[in-house]
Amino acid sequence: MVKITLILLLFKSANAFSGYQYASKAYVQMHQNQSRYSRVISNFECNQPFKLVKDHGEFSEVSYAAYKGFILSRNLISSKNKECPQDKYSKFFEYLSLDVSDMHYWGRLQDLYVTGEVNP
């Protein structure tokens, strides 16, 4: 009985971990609605954790503190990104001296790319 309870608790905690998503690009934007042209609620840096509320396919409904909105699913990843440029080159990004507008547009770029991949 104890063993079953422990296994159930472990399974629940694993599920809780899988309910988190992380920003996978240098900057990522949260929108009010499920549209890349919808009002931008906020801009987030790479590896920002979000609680996944619901996966809507192209967009994921997420929340972080008081922020709740939609982020393009392709800009999210289920575990921390080891390739975050701000983590790999922290001082370099510091010296780039990006202002708020630069960070906003860097996040905007990630939404406006039309992406493709040519697999065999």
């Binding site: 790999k88 922290s90 010296y95 039309v114 992406t115 991949e117 697999n119």
Partner: protein, 285 residues
Amino acid sequence: MIKFLLLILISLGSFSKKQMPVNNDFINFENIKGVLKKDQLEKTLTEKQKRAQIQKQKKKSKQMKLYGLPTQDDFWKIMIEHWLVKNITILKWDFRKPDYGVDEYFTNFLRQTGEIGLKFNILYLNTPNISHFAFPMGSNEYLFLVSVPFIKSLDLSKLEISIMLLEDLLRVKNDYFINSFDSKLTSSLSGGSFYQKEFPSKNLKTLMTKIDEKVFEKGFSFQEQHKITKMMNNILISDTQNWQAYYRMLSKIDELVKGNLMYKNYLKIYPSPELQMNWLNPTKN
């Protein structure tokens, strides 16, 4: 009894004088050194010094890592995105547009021509300042800029747009973009670290200016255009429809740049559609 005890003590004292170092030896540091060496404390000290040196090295390399410059794989992606952000007002890529469906068509087209194992991003521009251009974005990753006014003026089909992007892909794969930059300039901004050095901000500004020059003024040479046209001919000739679409696209561009002042700079970047048609013309070859 007391006398007996005294006798024993004196004899022990004389015995200790023979077996142990005399009292004066405790002030004689040479003898202490000998004892310490025998106790291997010197070895322990050396090991501690080595460990401290290793810790110091680790701390230094951790600091150096913080000051790392982008690797070759990440360098152009960061630089090009930085350039796109800084030139938002000129490039006008932040605008509402429909889904033209080019990505799916282009993916199938590339697979058909044998260009597999690559990732691409297309960014549409709401300006004729740049008609089209391709950038390297890391290992087998590319960015294509496409002007919406340009493709609308030419009324290009998805096939013709895909052919135009293939031409751009060949230019970037042949390093025509990367080779136009001084290697000293790019190496000062990539690889290694600027730990305990000045951040190369001047070189960064120079690189941004050089990208502007390449994209807006210098473009590609006649020799590069000739080589690309020949490569395109070899790739597309096996499919008549594709080859004719390429020739038709060049003809459309030639007509546009000769008749529309908005595209008068096109020939500076991509010389010249008329020559390309001559190189392709089967009656002349």
